[in-house]
């Protein structure tokens, strides 16, 4: 391991501890890589975080080019997001999808799309994180890996499970909660058996915290969801150590510098104690949770977009100090669009400057032992735990979802944040202080305001492609998906088979809904290929 020196030649230790180690240190902190993982989940490696930028636009081919461009800039992991229809379990030829195909992410709806998306990407080396619906992402990744002769067991990366909150403040699946939860658990179970290096469960607290939540609320709601999913998996008879090693968390990072660092430290400790003491996890990998972070899009402004570059840098420093496993910066043009090429470049270079020029990775958890930071971590931790307890005391979290408790909660926080910004309580330079006439606010504007037009061609292509499939084979496979929903078995095998014969995500999702007794198309436009709807 390389020795780290300051510019003046002072040698830096990878981690600093109290001069006298006592019980309290072991209980509350532990060195990095030691329970309760307050100071980090791994012993010092000097490697820093996985550097990536959120990508995906247009169709799979264009996004594949985007991947290659980002890799050429030194990106060390892939992170892909679907366009609105993809994220909402909707195929691009759905009538509601028309003006969004490929505009805010990549349009993905079938096996063939993933073949194109992953062309030339070294599947056994590159970690692939996807925000697209997990069941379909995992099915396609698995099939593409098999086709390319890569064992699915070698795949790394993650998919998001968000049965609790997606409906209310992100992308609506229009799935009954119980069905969505079952899909998530089926994916986690499948991955733990067939893709052991892949995180089948990324708890994404980022997207719902963008509804104006503070750090405590974000973490608490995340833990409520984790706890319910873990309990559901345990109730299936699974061993906690069979799936818990591949749970990870993706959090937000606002501009509240110290609190964000404290949040990440507190979350690692809460998670470790919860897994060990409450759920009986024995494998240290089940107790240590990797936290990846996407910096806050909500913290950015559409005014004076260059200021957003500074915001991304400050957040990256905070996250470097907190010790996160992977990081994406919300790019400076986020307020207007999905990242441009230029903004991607700036985002990655920001990470690289901070990683390579500042010595930030020389010392792990440099704030550890700071009177202030330890006090703040304790307080954040206590508040998170109190809020989890409060929510769980209100009844079965699943009932809270269906009764609209969380929806009301998010509407409250959205309104609160809006007022905080309007009243200047949350300061945003360029927006509510130090504003500038629109005519003078020109720096980086042209890039920010450039738009990606909808891919009308893809809609036509897909229609033609649909017609060319082997219809008998397709219907038989969709029929098996329908049956497996009723049977209660893990749905992944049936979904894999249907995906293999060309069933689209929208079709499979519709059949899942239909088998559950709800409309195939919740928006009322499409009819089920299986017929027989109410």
């Amino acid at each position: 391991m390389k020795e780290n020196l300051t510019r003046s030649g002072i040698k830096l230790s990878p981690v600093y501890q109290p001069t006298k180690l006592d019980d309290d240190y072991g209980k509350r902190f532990g060195n990095p890589g030691e329970y309760p993982f307050t100071r980090g989940t791994r012993a010092y490696s000097g490697q820093g975080w996985i550097q990536r930028e959120l990508s995906g636009e247009g169709d799979a081919r264009r996004s594949n080019e985007q991947f290659k461009y980002l890799m050429s800039l030194g990106q060390t992991g892939l992170d892909v997001i679907g366009d609105s229809p993809t994220m909402s379990l909707m195929d691009p030829d759905h009538p509601l999808a028309r003006y969004t195909v490929g505009t805010q992410g990549v349009s993905l709806c079938c096996h063939e799309d993933y073949r194109q998306l992953l062309e030339d990407i070294p599947l056994d080396q590159m970690s692939i994180s996807s925000s697209a619906p997990s069941m379909f992402t995992v099915a396609s990744l698995y099939l593409v890996a098999q086709e390319r002769g890569v064992s699915p067991a070698k795949l790394r990366g993650s998919v998001i499970e968000w049965p609790f909150y997606s409906e209310h403040c992100s992308y609506a699946y229009k799935m009954p909660f119980d069905l969505h939860l079952r899909m998530s658990c089926d994916v986690i179970e499948f991955c733990s058996k067939h893709m052991p290096r892949f995180h089948g469960y990324l708890e994404d607290t980022y997207f719902f915290s963008e509804a104006g939540l503070n750090a405590v609320e974000e973490a608490a709601l995340g833990f409520v969801e984790i706890r319910h999913i873990v309990r559901t998996l345990l109730a299936r008879g699974l061993d906690i150590d069979s799936f818990a090693p591949r749970i990870a968390i993706l959090t937000n990072c606002s501009m509240d510098f110290y609190e964000e660092i404290a949040k990440i430290r507190a979350m690692r400790r809460i998670y470790a104690r919860m897994m060990k003491e409450e759920f009986g996890a024995k494998d240290p990998r089940s107790q240590a949770v990797n936290i990846a972070v996407h910096t806050s899009g909500l913290s950015l402004t559409t005014e004076q977009p260059a200021n957003n570059i500074v915001r991304g840098a400050v957040q990256t420093v905070a996250l470097g100090l907190a010790g996160v496993s992977a990081l994406e910066i919300s790019t400076f043009d986020e307020g207007y669009r999905t990242p441009s090429k230029e903004a991607h470049l700036v985002g990655l270079r920001t990470q690289q400057v901070i990683d390579l020029e500042t010595n930030i990775n020389a010392v792990q958890d440099p704030f550890g032992g700071s009177w202030f930071m330890e006090s703040l971590t304790d307080q954040v931790e206590a508040r998170i735990l109190a809020m989890v307890k409060d929510i769980e005391s209100r009844g079965d979290p699943a009932d809270l979802v269906s009764s609209g408790f969380f929806k009301q909660f998010f509407h409250g926080t959205m309104g609160r944040y809006h007022h905080q910004v309007q009243d200047g309580e949350v300061v945003k330079v360029g927006m509510n202080v130090h504003q500038m006439p629109a005519a003078e606010d020109t720096l980086l504007r042209d890039i920010s305001e450039e738009k990606i037009p909808p891919l009308f061609d893809r809609i036509e292509q897909l229609k033609a492609w649909r017609a060319a499939r082997d219809q008998a084979q397709l219907l038989a496979a969709l029929g098996r998906v329908h049956d497996v929903v009723k049977s209660g078995e893990n749905m992944m095998e049936a979904v894999l088979d249907a995906t293999r014969v060309g069933a689209t995500m929208g079709e499979i999702a519709g059949v899942l809904r239909q088998a559950w007794g709800t409309p195939y198309d919740p928006y009322g436009y499409l009819k089920s290929p299986l017929g027989g709807e109410q």
Binding site: P176, G395, T518, Y523, Q534
Partner: protein, 339 residues
């Protein structure tokens, strides 16, 4: 803000009777705003109503009233029936404004020409519906809707008004709200014609069903024995059974059960009295508004030249309430000085 009346009342009435959505919609607005013209319009519609089946849907918040309404729209549409929906949400007591969002759950019928969904704000009225609800039902009836679903505010236990307007009132309950169900006893239990325990996949559903069934155990022969049904509106389960119970209730409604007659008479009396009260109030308020001396009287009171009680008596006297006020005063004296 009363909208402009760009069509005459004649045209609105004719349009409504012909099933025109825009005429009917504007007419409901005029009724809701208490526009004088609305009275005339309703009068003219009266002989054309009575064909629709009116179903009330009430119950505590979170019970799934809107979702059940959505399911009932679908069920009625399957029979080829046209549907009107009135969804009442509460007005803010402070600003008087309201957020009317029930129709989101019925969005899949947004473009169905046979379905007309209208949101109403409670506008300070308690009892689960609004004074305009009856008028709005009649407009929808007159325009030819076969089934009219009225979803109440769903905030209190006093939502009993709906039973006077609906042919069949459905009370939606959810398991696990043990205390709420107990508290229902007070008002809602008496107004429900059928009870739906929604979210019946929950473990404690049977307990709630059992409790309600026990309440209705001793229904006299020949009277309506209120069914207690289980449903999962979110999963579209139990809807056919509810539809069937509504049909059975219709058979009872056409029977000669004594309770039925009494209910009809009571409802009619309440409506007539309420119309008379409204008319009287409006007429007197118009008089009062035309009374010139009020501002000067205020000046006198503030200046200490006269007292507010004497001034009140004086003005009411001028409006010819004098005698009643004196009688009241005499009555109070009797109470105040017993013996």
């Amino acid at each position: 803000m009363t909208p402009r009346i760009d069509a005459s009342i004649d045209a609105l009435v004719a349009g409504t009777l012909a099933g025109d959505l825009r005429s009917a919609s504007r007419l409901i607005r005029l009724i809701d705003d208490g526009a004088p013209a609305a009275w005339q319009a309703q009068k003219r519609l009266f002989s054309h109503i009575g064909k629709a089946l009116v179903i009330g849907i009430t119950g505590p918040p979170g019970a799934g009233k809107s979702t059940l309404t959505d399911c009932l729209i679908a069920r009625a549409r399957r029979d080829g029936k046209s549907v009107g929906v009135l969804a009442v949400d509460p007005s803010s007591p402070i600003s008087g404004g309201a957020i009317l969002g029930d129709r989101i759950r019925m969005n899949r019928f947004a473009l169905d020409d046979a379905v007309f969904i209208r949101s109403l704000a409670s506008r300070g009225h308690f009892g689960g519906i609004t004074p305009a609800t009856r008028g709005a039902i009649r407009v929808m009836d007159a325009m030819g809707k076969d089934v009219i679903l009225v979803e109440t505010v769903g905030v209190g236990q006093d939502e009993v008004d709906i039973a006077r307007l609906a042919h069949t009132t459905i009370v939606v309950a959810v398991p696990g709200l043990g205390d709420d169900v107990q508290a229902m006893k007070a008002g809602i239990l008496e107004v429900g014609d059928l009870f739906v325990v929604n979210k019946a996949d929950r473990p404690d559903a049977d307990e709630t069903v059992g409790y309600l069934q026990n309440v209705f155990r001793r229904t006299p022969a020949g009277e309506w024995r209120r069914p207690v049904l289980k449903a999962q509106a979110l999963h579209h389960k139990g809807i056919d059974e509810i539809w069937q119970a509504i049909a059975e209730h219709a058979v009872y409604r056409h029977s000669a059960a004594p309770a039925l007659k009494a209910r009809q008479r009571a409802n009619c009396e309440i409506e007539l009295r309420s119309f008379l009260r409204q008319g009287l109030q409006q007429a007197l308020l118009r008089k009062l508004d035309a009374e010139p001396g009020i501002l000067e009287a205020v000046a006198d009171i503030v200046a200490g030249k006269s007292d507010i009680y004497a001034v009140t008596d004086e003005i009411l006297g001028k409006l010819r309430f004098g005698e009643e006020r004196e009688e009241e005063a005499r009555a109070e004296n009797v109470v105040l000085r017993p013996g």
